[in-house]
């Protein structure tokens, strides 16, 4: 027991003197948890190579973050788990046949170039995982556009599978057909479940929606971006379908094949690169939806989610500024 301690050293800090126990690390941990079911599904559909690629990507993201901060004599930030999230998201946007060295290059790009050169967590302008994915896509187009049929498991440890894969890959996701205005063979149920070709983490729409809802319940993300993003894509593809395909099934396939669910719930909601106000988030979500459909309809690539989000990333500051709430009692403008 201490009493009457005149000279006890007391902490002098400004109010408030209590803080919420939820820290960046807890939030990132929740995102990691929410991303796990999609990985389990990916292993089921594509085999253990999905796990290998994810692991390589995560380990290299964390390693680059650690090494860079160490070399630059900055504080060690890997415990905030944001590099883990980046690693998972990067792997999820690659096809399972990707050569095993590619995620390492992607991680370097994501962590060092996009994130740390701008000052580290919170300072980057565009989403590191998405930027890296687009970079890889441009740098290694052949490797990144080969998609494996579900159920055809590739070797988890073969560095390159392109040779072998040429025998067994379908080469096209439903999105490619949709782009040409035809309804692909894939039926709606297997698309919903995720029994379709695609990148590692994007295929199971159902799982991504459920885990996205988990994040909303945990108050990690708000509804504004995913709902407006998906609704915008749904509305346009229903009202203005491409070619003769048309109809509800065209819309549903647009929603559930490709990277929309992964993008809308897990990438467009990245705090750092999305607006901080509710109204800003709504505009941002609608913008993502519009650009996604535009690219899917008229762009050079079948998929538009990555580009759409990256483009909207650039507007975050302007959206925040334009949607700044009116201060309480403030009419002075």
């Amino acid at each position: 027991m201490n009493s009457n301690t005149e000279n006890k050293f007391l902490t002098m800090t400004a109010s408030p003197h209590i803080k919420s126990p939820i820290k960046t690390r807890n939030i990132m941990a929740d995102v990691v948890i929410a991303l796990m079911p999609a990985l389990v599904w990916a292993i089921y559909v594509f085999g253990f190579r999905a796990l290998t690629i994810t692991a390589i990507s995560v380990v290299s993201c964390v390693a680059f973050e650690y090494l860079y901060r160490k070399l630059m004599k900055k504080s060690n930030t890997i415990s905030d788990l944001s590099a883990v999230v980046t690693g998972i998201l990067l792997a999820y946007s690659l096809p399972v046949s990707t050569p095993l060295w590619i995620p390492i290059i992607g991680s370097f790009f994501a962590i060092v170039i996009v994130k740390q050169l701008y000052g580290g967590i919170g300072k980057n302008i565009i989403n590191p995982a998405l930027a890296a994915r687009v970079f890889l896509f441009v740098a290694y187009p052949t490797e990144l556009t080969a998609f494996t049929e579900p159920g055809k498991y590739l070797s988890p440890f073969a560095v390159n599978v392109s040779k072998a894969a040429s025998d067994i890959t379908a080469g096209a996701t439903p999105l490619v057909d949709l782009k040409n205005g035809i309804i692909p063979d894939a039926d709606i149920t297997s698309t919903l479940i995720g029994n379709i070709p695609g990148t590692i983490g994007e295929v199971s729409a159902t799982i991504l929606i459920l885990t996205g809802i988990y994040l909303m319940i945990r108050k990690v993300i708000t509804w504004h971006i995913p709902v407006t993003y998906i609704a915008t894509v749904a509305l346009i593809t229903l009202v203005l379908p491409l070619g003769n395909a048309g109809g509800v099934s065209f819309m549903l396939l647009q929603l559930f094949s490709g990277g929309l669910m992964l993008g809308a719930f897990f990438m467009a909601t990245d705090y750092v690169t999305s607006p901080a106000t509710s109204v800003g988030r709504i505009i941002y979500g609608v913008g993502c939806g519009l650009i996604t459909v535009f690219i899917r309809y008229f762009g050079g690539y079948p998929e538009g989610v990555s580009f759409a989000i990256l483009i909207m990333n650039l507007f975050v500051w302007y959206l925040d500024k334009a949607t700044k709430p009116k201060a309480f009692g403030g009419a002075k403008k």
Partner: protein
């Protein structure tokens, strides 16, 4: 649906002392009474070293400006008049140190008001309240007499703030349970003095027992109603209170009276009651002693000038991991640098916190928007902090930094551990200082021409 405001925090209210009756703190051996415990000019000491003073005797005053008289809280001998750093940011302040003679000899001037206070004029009540040294006992310690004056002719609604939204603090709660007639009696005097037509007693819904008591005790008055509020921080902030009760947003830079309201804290009403019916000036205050590093949390009524160390001894001492002492609530209270800090008229709590409750390594903003969601003033605290960091006063002002009430909600919720309020405070201070300077210059050049 209970009425509430937009933004704000749901925090663990930690009202551990809700069932601790108010104990009278035993008269301490020594008190040190600061000459400034209120907004306005400091009082000037009226006694000298060696003088004998009686309990309730006027020992400090400043007649001509906005100020508050100060009275001896015990009887005894003036041992010293020391200049000490004020613990609440008033700078160097004279403290009159009185050694207790344990006789509790009351001052001769202490007498109850003769006759019916409800036939007294406003001026008479203002003078009685002023002479009793009463100031707001909730937050800013604004002299109560001046508040009454500012409300006359403007306010039609009187609000008694019993929200007590800060975690830990239960002193108003206990007062409502134990001395409801004093709160209501004092409030009715203030109502009479301010010519207000209607009174609202505002209580958060984590004190339903108090709501019941207050409702019962005000049943006979048609113009008094009890309003239950949702428990949410900072519900007790005047602006949020008026918004919920009257539906008005107090425009920036205006006073409650400008929108027809005047707001008093519950304990202030008790002090008014004591001044009128017992003749006793404001010389003691009720406070909550709590925190995870104090052995026996309590509610106390302690003489003004009692040292923290005496309070702590009475509450069983601290645990070994004591690392911070806060005067006031955990959201807006001030950390004290040693145990010589004293009880003041507006002290509502002393909190003894362990290092467990601390985590002060500054981190990075991840732009999550949580602070934007909780800010009761509808600002974007993340940007205010960022602009402050870059010393960009222009953008900070454009983003409404001057509207910040420093409630601390943003810093509380921030997962990135950004000391947002601290940044805001610094920049706000700098902007206000610049403005004062500019105004001064303008005045001077006007005077010259």
């Amino acid at each position: 649906m209970l009425k509430t405001f937009k933004g704000g925090l749901h925090v663990n209210d930690n009202k551990n002392t809700r069932n601790c009756p108010i104990e009278n703190f035993p008269s301490p051996a020594k008190v040190a009474i600061p000459m400034q415990q209120h907004i306005g000019a400091p009082a000037q000491p009226l006694v000298a070293k060696g003088d004998y003073v009686k309990k309730g005797q006027l020992i400090g005053n400043f007649e001509t400006g906005l100020s508050c008289p100060i009275h001896a809280s015990i009887s005894g001998t003036v041992a010293d008049i020391e200049m000490r750093n004020s613990y609440t940011g008033y700078g160097k302040t004279a403290h009159i140190v009185i050694e207790n003679d344990y006789t509790d000899t009351p001052d001769d001037n202490i007498k109850t008001f003769d006759g019916d206070i409800f036939t007294a004029t406003s001026e008479e009540i203002v003078e009685l309240v002023r002479r009793a040294g009463i100031c707001g006992q909730g937050g800013a310690a604004f002299p109560t007499y001046a508040k009454i004056q500012s409300a006359i002719g403007k306010a039609s609604e009187i609000i008694i703030n019993c929200a007590e939204c800060e975690p830990y603090i239960t002193e108003n709660h206990r007062l409502m349970l134990e001395e409801p007639e004093k709160i209501i009696g004092g409030a009715r005097i203030l109502m009479h003095a301010t010519y207000t037509e209607h009174m609202t007693i505002a209580i958060e819904n984590n004190k339903m027992d108090a709501v019941e008591v207050m409702t019962k005790n005000t049943a006979e008055y048609e113009n008094i109603s009890v309003q239950v509020l949702k428990t949410k921080y900072p519900q007790g902030d005047e602006r949020q209170l008026m918004y919920v009760i009257k539906g008005v947003e107090l425009p920036a830079g205006k006073l409650p009276a400008d929108v027809g309201c005047v707001i008093f804290n519950a304990e202030t009403c008790v002090s008014v009651y004591n001044a009128i019916y017992e003749g006793m000036p404001l010389i003691s205050t009720v406070l909550t002693v709590d925190g995870d590093a104090v052995n026996t949390p309590k509610n106390l009524r302690a003489p003004v000038g009692t040292r923290i160390s005496d309070i702590l001894d009475y509450c069983g001492g601290s645990t070994d991991n004591l690392s911070k002492i806060v005067s006031g609530g955990p959201m807006m209270g001030q950390a004290q640098w040693d145990m010589n800090a004293v009880v003041m008229k507006n002290t509502s709590a002393f909190l003894f916190l362990s290092d467990k409750t601390q985590s002060n390594d500054e981190g990075d903003c991840i732009h999550c928007g949580r602070c934007v969601g909780v800010c009761p003033m509808h600002l974007m605290p993340n940007y205010l902090a960022a602009f402050s960091k870059k010393d960009d006063k222009v953008l900070a002002e454009e983003f409404g930094i001057l509207s910040c009430v420093e409630c601390g909600s943003c810093t509380y919720i921030c997962p990135g551990n950004v000391p947002i309020v601290q940044y805001i405070r610094t920049t706000k201070g700098a902007i206000l200082a610049e403005k004062r300077k500019a105004a001064q210059k303008a005045k001077e050049s006007e005077a010259k021409s």
